[in-house]
């Protein structure tokens, strides 16, 4: 199997007041180019930690991380990150927020006109061309998250990293953005690593679902291959027995094998 993103023997521990906390222990994962992988698990299982490691925001205690055969030594434009709380800069318009990313990646080789064209292209990709000159506080939560996705995609990253991108949205907006993400990924053929705690979201979007055990010292418990045909239709899957079978497997893992005592 071609390993586009490789996570090898990763341990991650944090120093706390009460001694060393081991978040991840011996995690191994390989992602193919163009593959959509979701990380799922109960809260506190270290799935966001793993994503931040791939993003380069954290440095592992042990082990190696590779992206496109290069060691990950920090954040870089080859990995676009979408945060849970959109993290748009409130004093910049949507277009300026994206331009900031575009300018950093392509500023040295392209003219301003080209950079602006890239910005608008990214906004059009998430159907927000009309909101280019709006500030983040003038648009809805779903729209903000789409701008966040557009910002990540505008850098033409090799890997798109999504940290519970729809977690803060209401159910209807979330479903809408999931459909949107399916279309975008089909169009851009991006490699995606996404953290979620929503089983339906995971089954709908992924090629593989990586299920994590509970922390501390969390690791990968099991991996489900989602062999549903693409393009996938939300309504079509309602009566798909394979869909329910896969969904059942994830639920079983989360609520039987890794049952969490009531928090």
């Amino acid at each position: 199997m071609e390993r586009f993103v490789a996570v090898e023997n990763i341990d991650m521990s944090f120093k706390t007041k009460h001694g060393i906390f081991v978040a991840l222990k011996d995690v191994n994962l390989a992602i193919r180019e163009g593959e959509f992988v979701t990380l799922i698990g109960h809260s506190g299982c270290g799935k966001s930690t793993l994503l931040n490691l791939v993003a380069g925001l954290l440095v592992p205690t042990n082990g190696v991380l590779l992206c496109n055969k290069r060691e990950i030594a920090g954040p870089g434009p080859d990995r676009g990150v979408v945060f849970q709380n959109h993290s748009l800069l409130p004093w910049l318009t949507c277009a300026e927020n994206i331009y900031l990313a575009v300018e950093r990646v392509f500023g040295e080789s392209e003219s301003k006109t080209q950079l602006k064209a890239r910005t608008l292209k990214a906004l059009d990709l998430v159907q927000l061309g009309h909101a280019a000159d709006k500030r983040p506080n003038e648009i809805s939560g779903g729209m903000k998250q789409r701008v966040g996705i557009a910002r990540a995609l505008s850098m033409e990253p090799k890997v798109l990293l999504l940290d519970e991108p729809f977690g803060a949205l209401d159910a209807l907006t979330r479903a809408h953005l999931q459909d949107e993400l399916l279309k975008i990924v089909a169009k851009t053929k991006s490699t995606v690593l996404m953290v979620t705690h929503d089983v339906d979201e995971a089954v709908l979007l992924s090629d593989r679902i990586v299920m994590m055990t509970n922390g501390p010292a969390a690791t990968i418990g099991d991996i489900v291959d989602v062999d549903l045909a693409r393009p996938r239709e939300r309504l079509g899957l309602v009566n798909d027995s394979r869909y329910h079978q896969l969904r059942g497997r994830v639920l079983e893992f989360l609520y039987q094998k890794q049952m969490r005592p009531a928090a």
Binding site: P75, G80, F83, S87, R104, K134, L172
Partner: protein
Amino acid sequence: MTAAILKHEKFGGMPISVAMPAAEKQAPAADESPPVRRHTPLVEKYRDEIVEFIRATIPVVFGLALFVSIWAMLAAHSTLPGPIKTFHSAVGVFSDPFYRKGPNDQGIGWNILMSLGRVGIGFGMAALIGIPLGFMIGRFRFLSGMTAPIISLLRPVSPLAWLPIGLLVFKAANPAAIWVIFISSIWPMIVNTAVGVREVPQDYLNVAKVLNLSEWKVFTRILFPASLPFVLTGIRLSIGVAWLVIVAAEMLTGGVGIGFWVWDEWNNLNVEHIIIAIFTVGIVGLLLEQMLMLIARRFEYR
């Protein structure tokens, strides 16, 4: 805004935000609905605003009336000049604010302008040094550790304690007064700017890391705008302190200025003028504060 939502609706079709444009349309409809149309439309249109204005003004008027009557009562039983006497005197003072009869006898307009000039120079220099210094202290922990003991030691010192040092170094009254303004108004700007930089949300700094922004871009696009509200608070506190201190400093240094004017009128035993000066200092201070609040409000995000 409505158009944007509608457009978005067409694409997304989310039932939740459909309610928004509908609600917006309902609001003006409610205004038009009263059946009686004989009122002049202008009064009808601004009725809520007028009621709100009256409601806000009444307590202010009562407060001022109470203040003036207590003042009048006190004046009746002492040598303090009463409100009416002071008012007539004020009309005289403000009818010719820019006369010049020698170095120690000038109009109140000149006195205010000279004081504002000193505050402007002293405060301006404090801002030029204090704000960048605050940024560096907020950004670099080492510098913060270096400067923390000095700042905590010097900040509580009474502003006028710096005056002899100023007189000694500059050998003149005017720069010494400016020096006092400078040293007393620099602290709030340093401290607030540093806190502002330290309080920049981690989310924004993560964005900076993920986008791999240069230090200059981090400063211009993230640190500066994110800490601007704090910086403006520092500026506001500083200008308040500066205006507070100038009166005291000028009493000691002399020259033309509102503080010197107070002292001069005390020597002339012209108590009405002292009261006028007190009100003038208060009003100018209020205007400075309001002006800065207005600027600060422009930079509020979210």
